[in-house]
């Protein structure tokens, strides 16, 4: 039995263990791992997610039991302090001694803190460990209590700095990025792309300060500002330093291993240091005179060290390491690959820039125009995976390479099928999974769907950036085998939503239990129940009152559940128009039940903090005053937003409010695969943001232009033109057909925009179906919709008038008590739920 000691239980140290125990020869070794941090290795790449949920467990690479289960001794919270090479022993901070046959150094790096006067002040942080984040959160909390508009700066505008900037923003602080260079992400971006990125980041509220050298951190005990020049000061209350990394190489220094001039432990392509029994991997290893600050090369190094120790001497680190990156900043795509900046002597650059849309794309092409050398994408990196593969594999590019980056014209992409990639193409670089590995797991092994493939290969489990490509590969491979690629609903129904919709309709099934008995297996779940409920609703317009227990919790109680288990109440205010009398009623009801009141982003009013038993009482008062449900809780029509239009506005061309109200009332209560929103603007100034909706109308000379399939949210899409200059009646006709066609054919929880994306033939095909009736179903669609419209009934009215239905609005079955765990705290003259921790 030989002993391996791993120093450092970070991402790479963990990967070493994982790869080691996967080999059968590992039986002859005992591994002991030392980690200085108080917990087992976690996913540093996704560290920022800790801000969202403060769930350290969710970031774990593997639970503590995993090590024991695999015969590995894990000792956390104990730093290794010395290496005694002559006796092959190490000592730890607790003065314990351990012997090794092989030593693997995976001590990673720490954040580099530049020697600026005052960096030791309170409120200055680095961004590297969970403890750093906990410190920041606590400090930000304290700041916000003392100061409503506290500011936080990030020193460093690189990849990590921008992520830290986003984190500062999420913590509710005014975010500032301070960068020494004249551009953002200086290692990845050229000046123009940096400018485009800057505009975009500023538009979402990040303040950017370039070309700033910080002389001093101001403040007595705690930081109050940063001084750049004499009269150049930025007031800030917190600072996050993200100015690069420094390898944790102190162990190497003291035991006399060969070191780099600027730090790092020198390794060869076997990952061996100058001592043949000592290996170094990850961010501590200086390979090719470089520290690679990314996990993918670190994982490769771990694999090489495993093989070398087990005697597979031909496993070597490649000479060239790909440093392409795609940033996962929410809402902003940034990617850079290959040679992003290229001197004109080596090739030609093709640049596409559109600042109005915050888009910048650059590709560098060889002088003969035949191969792709690198590039930069800002604003839209959806083609990154494909471009990156073309670059890595030296694949042929179109005769006119500009097609690779020009916005896709109708008809779609200029890339071939993913199956054209060579088998060796590395698709998941974090886990080194090639296209061949993925396809083989289906063709050779018995993987049958995406889940199987991920479980088998571990592809996508690192940064996740390769997911779209893996999905495509799996689907294409399955198709090429003649296997059906079925988007089945869940383990209980092996049908697609559309198939089940047809089955239920043709067989006139009306109950969930019956549906499950006839077409499904098992006892159902939270995925198929609401889906089947939605199908019933779109066939017969039944409300959630008839089968409440198969509804999503929101639909079941006809209200949106809030973070503390209370509910919100949103009455319909069609088109956003409301009389003063009705406004007074809402005010009075809110006051009586002490509800937090807010104007929503959908032109209506939301009353928050109602308890279950209060819902019917509140709704009774609202209904008596002429209100009805706003269906804010359902996957259903929400609002049709309006602008004031020709009745008041000096530019208005048609009566947009009237039309918005008519349309909202026509489709109110309509259930659909996802929520539906509309908008009506009185002229092209578009104050109702109609093109950000599932359907939008814009008044023009001669009628309405009808746009479809837009949305806001996480992936905003502008709606596209379906038809021009329509009269009111034709608008309704086309809308009936469009909506009903979507409802029939979309997958569960697929909104109109992604539905259109997937629709073969795209908008042109949709035009044929809706306008030219190419499928011959237009009349049927209109009749179905009219049937649903005729059967509309306010479900809240239905519920409060029926004692049996009312039973569900009670917290306890065996007591009239109410939930005594609810605690509210005051906020700006109203109230909010008390945060739990």
């Amino acid at each position: 039995m030989k002993n391996i000691i791993v120093v450092g239980n970070g991402m790479v140290g963990y990967k070493f263990c994982e790869k080691f125990v996967a080999k059968s020869a590992s039986k002859d070794f005992k591994i002991t791992v030392f980690g200085e941090e108080p917990r087992p290795a976690y996913d540093r790449v996704h560290l920022s997610e800790f801000f969202e949920n403060q769930d350290a467990k969710a970031l774990e690479m593997a639970p503590a039991e995993w090590y024991a289960d695999n015969g590995i001794e894990l000792i956390v919270d104990e730093r290794v302090t010395d290496i005694h090479r002559s006796t092959k022993k190490i000592t730890t901070v607790k003065d314990r001694e351990f012997s090794y046959d092989y030593l693997v150094l995976a001590t990673g790096s720490s954040a580099f803190v530049p020697p600026i006067k005052g960096v030791e002040k309170e409120g200055v942080f680095v961004y590297r460990t969970i403890e750093d984040l906990e410190g920041m959160l606590a400090y930000a909390d304290k700041l916000k209590k003392e100061k409503p508009n506290a500011k936080a700066a990030v020193l460093g505008g690189g990849l990590l700095g921008l992520e830290a900037g986003k984190a500062a923003m999420d913590m509710g602080l005014e975010p500032h990025i301070v960068e020494f260079a004249s551009k953002l992400m200086p290692r990845q971006l050229d000046l123009r792309s940096s400018q485009v990125l800057q505009l975009k980041l500023e538009s979402i509220g990040l303040n950017i300060h370039l070309s700033k050298a910080t002389n001093q951190i101001l403040g007595d005990k705690a930081i109050t500002g940063m001084e750049f020049g004499e009269d150049d000061v930025l007031d800030v209350d917190m600072l996050i330093i993200s100015a690069g990394i420094r390898p944790r190489d102190e162990l190497g220094k003291t035991c006399g291993l060969e070191m780099g001039v600027r730090g790092g432990i020198v390794v060869d392509n076997k990952m061996q240091t100058s001592d043949e029994n000592i290996y170094a991997i990850g961010e501590i290893a200086l390979y090719n005179q470089m520290i690679y600050g990314l996990v993918a090369p670190g994982y490769d190094m771990a694999g090489v060290a495993v093989d070398q120790i087990l005697g597979e001497v031909e496993a070597l680190m490649p000479d060239e390491i790909d440093m392409s990156t795609k940033l996962k900043l929410i809402g902003v795509d940034v990617a850079s690959f290959g040679e992003p900046f290229m001197p004109a002597s080596k090739g030609h650059s093709i640049i596409f820039e559109n600042k109005t849309q915050y888009l910048y794309k650059r590709i560098n092409v060889s002088l003969d125009g035949k191969s792709l050398l690198g590039g930069i994408l800002v604003g839209d990196a959806s083609d990154y995976n494909m471009l990156h593969q073309v670059y890595l594999n030296g694949m042929a590019i179109p005769e006119d390479p500009s097609q690779l980056i020009l916005p896709a014209s109708e008809g779609g992409s200029s890339f071939g099928s993913v199956l054209d990639l060579p088998d060796t193409a590395q698709v998941c670089s974090c886990e080194s999974i090639s296209k061949g590995d993925i396809c083989c797991s289906i063709t050779e092994d018995d993987c049958n769907n995406l889940g199987d493939v991920i479980e088998k290969t571990k592809a996508t489990t690192g940064c996740g950036g390769c997911k779209p490509m893996v999905v495509d590969l799996v689907n294409e491979t399955l198709k090429s085998l003649g296997k059906e690629v079925k988007e089945t609903i869940c383990e209980h129904f092996s049908f697609s939503r559309q198939e089940l919709y047809d089955l239920i309709k043709i067989n006139k099934v009306a109950d969930y239990e019956e549906t499950l008995n006839l077409f499904g297996d098992g006892h159902g779940c939270e995925i198929c129940k609401p889906l089947v409920a939605s199908i019933f609703a779109t066939i017969t317009m039944e409300t959630p009152n008839r089968q409440p227990v198969i509804q999503d919790t929101n639909d079941r109680f006809l209200a949106n559940i809030q973070r503390n288990g209370t509910y919100s109440v949103v009455p319909r205010i069609a088109g956003g128009e409301i009389t003063p009398d009705k406004l007074i009623v809402i005010g009075e009801v809110a006051k009586k039940y002490d509800l937090y009141t807010k104007v929503t982003g959908g032109q209506r009013i939301d009353l928050f903090g109602a308890q279950l038993h209060q819902l019917p009482l509140i709704w009774k008062e609202l209904i008596d005053a002429g209100f009805e449900s706003g269906h804010a809780y359902g996957k259903s029509l929400r609002t049709v937003k309006s602008c004031v239009g020709s009745t008041w506005c000096r530019y208005g061309m048609h009566e947009s409010v009237t039309f918005a109200i008519d349309i909202e009332n026509r489709y109110r209560g309509l259930r659909s695969p996802h929520k539906l929103k509309g908008g009506v603007s009185g002229c092209i100034r578009e104050c109702a943001e109609a093109r950000g909706k599932d359907f939008g109308l814009i008044a023009v000379d001669g009628g309405w232009n009808l746009y479809v399939c837009g949305n806001g949210g996480a992936t905003p899409k502008h709606a596209v033109l379906l038809a021009e200059k329509l009269d009111d009646e034709t608008v309704v006709k086309y809308l009936d057909r469009f909506l009903m066609y979507y409802i029939r054919t979309a997958g569960p929880l697929v909104r109109t925009a992604p539905w259109l994306d997937k629709l073969e033939g795209g908008i042109e095909y949709l035009k044929q179906v809706v306008i030219e009736d190419s499928l011959g179903i237009a009349e049927e669609l209109e009749q179905e919709m009219q049937g649903l419209v005729n059967r509309y009934e306010c479900e809240w009215k239905q519920a409060i008038e029926n004692p049996e239905m009312m039973k569900r609005f009670k917290h306890f079955v065996n007591s009239d008590d109410t939930d005594d765990n609810l605690v509210f705290v005051p906020m700006r003259d109203q109230k909010m739920p008390k945060a739990w921790s």
Binding site: E513, G522, C525, K529, V549, R556, F812, V813, N814, N821
Partner: protein, 126 residues
Amino acid sequence: MQEDILKQYETVTEGNVKEWFEVGKVSDFPENSGACIKHKTKQIAVYNFTRTGKWYASQNLCPHKMEMVLSLGMIGDKDGVPKVACPMHKKNFSLEDGSNLAGEDLKIATYPVKIEAGNVYIGFSD
């Protein structure tokens, strides 16, 4: 305070029941659904699997964000194991042993249920 609330929930098995507490008639509980009952300071979610004729009970508190909501979640099964999906973030818990079905560390306490003469009883050990 939140630790105290969580601490009062510990799994009870039929073997260590000290009191069978009557919580209502079978007809008070919606079919194929959960509902909440109160016992002293505890909130217990009771699940009526009419489809299989089985009953389960667990703490009403979701250990994820400490919300009193599990009785409002949808019930069903995963690979045959009866489960509840928390309405907040859809974490799935086994109603047989309270474990989280995604393998996470979260766990809920479960309680035995018995039906006698149309009445529903939950077993407590305190």
